[in-house]
Point group: C2
Chain length 146, copies 2
């Protein structure tokens, strides 16, 4: 079939912004992570196992710390569901995450809500809320053998 | 000081809608809970320890089931933080919840995001995402003694 250029729908743009966030996460590159967030004092982030972070300064610092302590991360997402109301959109998705931190490898299935706001035509992340699903967080056998 | 009627700000209206949700929750009255949600097929709810529910039908059924199995509930909330963008608003708050189900009493501290949409002038709940905070969920001594 021939390729067609087509106007991306807003839903596709939101899904692309969501994927860009996960690309930034996988890259462990703080500059890329900074580029996908709206850098305002009202953005918020609940990382798995953390307390809620309020404002870009705290959120930025948390990503810098996570990237500093993480040597490698694998993330795949499934079941993304988008809702758009005006200039706001939110995506629910399941993250399958495996992280290597120092000599510890762990896996988790995480239910996530990411909220985006359209700013100057770009969908930027403003709120992230994660929940590790019970019974689906595993330490690696390596960890157990130590 | 004399009482003044004053125009409620939108932020106050969102906080009132959030409180109305918790009032409905405490009442264990499904009719009151139905009144605070937007009843659309795209609303979503992640109850603590559940999988994500998609659409009003599933969400309504879940509340009916929870209310059926709960004899009493105590909920207080703290640190509500509101952000409004156009017709959408989201509230982060901490829930301190104690529930009695059959002969089991349990307490939990839950970090929550509630998303509201303004529909015909009313802020209605459209998305709820909860995370029990680790190490802050307790079974009651009663449970341990059984």
């Amino acid at each position: 079939m021939p390729m067609h250029h087509h106007a991306e729908t807003e839903e596709e743009k939101v899904l692309a912004a969501n994927l860009a966030f996960y690309e930034a996460f996988r890259s462990l590159d703080i500059v890329r992570m900074e580029a996908v967030w709206l850098q305002e004092d009202w953005v918020r982030c609940l990382h798995p196992g953390w307390e809620l972070l309020l404002g870009w300064e705290e959120v930025q610092r948390s990503w810098a710390a996570i990237f500093h302590s993480t040597s490698q991360i694998l993330i795949s997402i499934s079941r993304p569901v988008v809702q758009i109301v005006g200039e706001t959109a939110w995506v629910s998705c399941l993250e399958d995450v495996t992280t290597a931190q120092s000599d510890d490898i762990s896996s988790a299935l995480i239910e996530t809500t990411n909220i985006f706001v359209r700013y100057r035509g770009r969908w930027l992340l403003v709120h992230r809320h994660t929940t590790p699903l019970p019974g689906k967080t595993d330490s690696s056998p390596d960890r157990i053998l130590q």
